[in-house]
């Protein structure tokens, strides 16, 4: 493959590129979906191709193709250069990329058991058995289970001399049970909602999930929700969030607004901007004193873990919020140089046919010192909410509203009645300033978010969020009429 990358690098420079990088990517995936006792879909897929990114006349161009041969490399490289020249018609400043990145290296996800090597029928049988356990519960309307694994091999080479090879392996699975009543539908998911929980690693991740062992419980909860009490309407109270819901809270209200490209307006036409403008760095009280958030692309097994980003910059850990004060952004080479920094290695592309954008790695809330039973016992009155059902946040990442699959009243330090259709809303820094208790390391886990969307054309990133259950004061709940 090195002959093709060298060809692209040389051709682009001959055509006038002051910077060029090329990525060759081969993606393999396997997806299994079962529903109501039937196999609804099994597929394997592969996608391969290369993308050439250039700076010519002080402007960016990118072109990509699925055909891997010398003739196509020449055509696509020429097109990337032509596109950059077109960009130069409406350019501003020349891109500054900061110090050259000449990284050489290899990285591979540590895998105990290759998920592709496990017989397909073994996975199908397990998923069918898991969803069957859920179907045994009276009142269950739809019972679904799914498995997904992927392997992505990629090469990054640049005109600055970088050459990096990586193999990323991910495995994920999940269970979803829907109970259907008279004019009502209620759903419970395990281990996480929206299809699956996922991490970097092999089949060992799937084996540890124990879908079968949890199927009966979540099925019973789904059925119980049909007759559960409605979440109180428009009440300001204390809430405790489970770790999975808190993971999405971190994702939406911290992970996205710290992307420096958003802050600089580069995503304003689509995903939006950020309330964490440059003047806020180092001074804004983002949360209470106990709120410490860090980005870390090196956590073993986490979904946002890799060796190098798609600009060849090594994975790293960065403190984002320290003792409640907002401290830093996620950056790429170009955006970092605009604020006098060097990249902290978060530019990633969704495959060979997309350019790298700033993407979350693993954005994590540091654990506190509480056990979960002690946290509930310490709460006189409130609501405990578990597992995300809906999520929405404004284009500056300030005003959010989340719904959870299930909730329980907290009365006098004990979990009480089950509640359905629980929602809560808030303004990001006010919400995080209301955080007064976080559970400890034993409750902390890095949850995978395999569906993070951004960019035009759209890109999906796989990212992680380390969280433990936490308590928030003075939160408005119950917004549905």
């Amino acid at each position: 493959m090195k002959d093709l990358t060298e060809r692209a690098l040389n051709t682009a420079q001959v055509l006038g590129a002051s910077y060029v990088d090329v990525r060759v990517v081969r993606h393999e995936g396997q997806v299994i979906a079962v529903k109501n006792g039937l196999v609804e879909g099994v597929s394997t897929g592969e996608s391969q191709g290369f993308g050439v990114r250039v700076v010519v006349d002080g402007a960016w161009g990118f072109a990509a193709s699925s055909v891997l041969n010398a003739e196509e490399v020449d055509r696509v490289t020429g097109l990337a250069v032509r596109i950059a020249r077109a960009s130069a018609r409406a350019k501003r400043d020349d891109p500054r990329l900061g110090p050259p990145v000449r990284q050489q290296g290899k990285y591979a996800t540590p895998v105990a058991q290759d998920p592709f090597a496990v017989p397909l029928e073994e996975k199908i049988d397990y998923l069918l058995a898991a969803q069957e356990s859920a179907r045994q519960v009276k009142g269950v309307g739809v019972s679904e289970a799914s498995f997904e694994c992927l392997r992505e091999r990629k090469i990054f080479a640049s005109s600055e001399g970088a050459y990096v090879e990586q193999t990323i392996v991910e495995t994920g699975a999940g269970l979803e049970v829907t109970a259907i009543g008279e004019d009502d539908v209620q759903k419970r998911s395990y281990p996480n909602s929206f299809g699956r929980e996922q991490g970097t690693g092999g089949y060992e991740l799937f084996a540890a999930m124990d879908l079968k062992g949890n199927a009966g419980r979540v099925a019973e909860e789904a059925v119980a929700l049909l007759s559960a009490k409605q979440c109180p309407r428009d009440l300001t109270t204390t809430i405790v969030l489970d770790a999975t819901q808190l993971a999405l809270q971190v994702h939406e209200s911290c992970g996205h607004p710290i992307e420096l490209d958003r802050v600089l307006g580069m995503e304003s036409a689509y995903a939006g901007t950020s309330f964490l403008t440059l003047d806020k760095r180092g001074s804004l009280r983002y949360g209470s004193d106990i709120v410490n958030i860090f980005a870390d692309a090196t956590i073993p097994g986490a979904l946002g873990t890799f060796g190098f980003d798609d600009e060849g910059v090594p994975a790293q850990r960065v403190q984002i919020v320290r003792n409640g004060i907002f401290e830093n952004y996620l950056t790429s080479r170009e955006t970092a140089s605009l604020i006098g920094q060097t990249s902290n290695g978060t530019a990633r592309a969704d495959g060979w046919n997309r350019i790298p954008l700033i993407r979350m790695t693993n954005i994590n809330l540091e654990p506190g010192g509480w056990t979960f039973p002690d946290l509930i016992a310490d709460t006189d009155d409130g609501i405990y909410m578990q597992t995300n059902k809906s999520w929405s946040i404004d284009d500056k990442r300030l005003n959010f509203q989340f719904g959870t699959e299930i909730a329980w009243e907290i009365k006098n330090g004990k979990l009480g009645q089950m509640l359905k259709n629980a929602t809560y809303t808030g303004i990001t820094p006010i919400f995080w300033q209301g955080c007064d208790a976080i559970c400890d390391q034993h409750h902390w886990h890095v949850w995978g978010t395999p569906n993070c969307g951004k960019g035009q054309p759209p890109q999906v990133a796989h990212v992680g969020h380390g969280t433990a259950p936490a308590r928030f004061r003075n939160v408005r709940v119950g917004l549905m009429k």
């Binding site: 990118f62 072109a63 055909v67 077109a86 018609r89 307006g265 005003n399 035009q456 917004l479 009429k481």
Partner: protein, 445 residues
Amino acid sequence: MIGREKAKEIAQRALEHSQADQTEVLLMGEDSGLTRFSNSYIHQNVAESNADLHVRVVFGKKIGVATTNDLSQGSIRRTVDEASRIARLQPENPDFVSLPGPKPASEGKGYSPATAEATPEDRAEVALLVCRRALQAGASAAGAFSTGTYELAVHNSLGVEAYAATTVADFSSVVTADDGSGYSAQVAVDWREIATESLAEEAVEGALRGRNATGLEPGEYEVVLSHYAVVDILDNLGYEGLGATPYQEDRSFMSGKLGQRLAGENVSLWDDGQDPTGLPLPFDYEGVPKQKVMFFNQGTAEGVAYDSYTAHKVGRQSTGHALPAPNPGGPLPLNMFMQAGDSSLDDLVRSLRHGLLVTRFWYTRTVHPITMHFTGMTRDGTFLVENGQIVRPVRNLRFTQSYLEALRNVEAISKETKLLRDQLGGCRVPAIKVKSWNFTGVSEL
């Protein structure tokens, strides 16, 4: 581009190699470019060429799917073999009856040579025009303009042979001026129909008008939803409940409700992949010609969209709404329309006594799939209207509102419709006036 003949040749190779009882070969090609601008300059500018081959094989009632974008002879054979291996390892699916048989399918009316031949320079000129107009007004432009050719070829061992090439030109822009922002968008088969100058003007005017927004107490307000907001309603209705799968599983707001009045008498919604005023696609991803499906006919629920799998379950014919297999989520409407009314957008605004004009919605998500409650934010221009006059911009508001309830309370509909891109495809919609909309929060900063 792959082209009809090359696509047929690839499909024939796969079909000849297959030992399965039934085999389907789906080819999807793309040759596209997208120019993106922000802060009034082009900051991202990309192009891609790709072609995916999907092979679905059936042994009895065992089904396997494999995909690749390597179209070499060896890869085509490997993909067929992999799909066959997968199928043989599976238990039977008793609900599966058959792949669809052949029906005459046209090539459609969704192709424009001008769009297929659009250049990076053409796209850059469009971006440049918007950026210049914004800068002249002291504003800042962001947006994207894409042009692309998309090929779809479906062949199966029962005789289906369908090929269509379509083109799409998609423009959208957000212009900001101080704290104000404005929006405009248009999608077309022929990129020369994109009204760049008036779209630039619309976004700039919206941004200037939206400056110095102040807060408004959340609550129930009568609203005029511009075309850009209405498209979100259709998009979410389609995704949540207008496909046969959630309908058959009793998870849809349509389940058990056909024949009942679910929306106002003035509301008619349908899907029509053959209509040239949309983004036509003549057949679906199983090669079945697209039929017009009426979802709401003068407010009455009439039907949902089927693929062959969901249709066969209930002894019906597919309506031509299949997505690429495997697709546990089921069929979806990709070409939705809402019946126009007889008012102008200005008429709708003039009819508001104390209400809001909403440019568009953002980040809308389902709160309840049966009541069709959604939450989301307003974005890029929300205006308080008193006695028919826009009196001031207001900060973005959060709503928690049943979209079905809103469609029961539509008081007026614009006669002008716009073709816009939604998450599912192309959508032609009017602007509407709704008697009451439940706003539950406000952006405070």
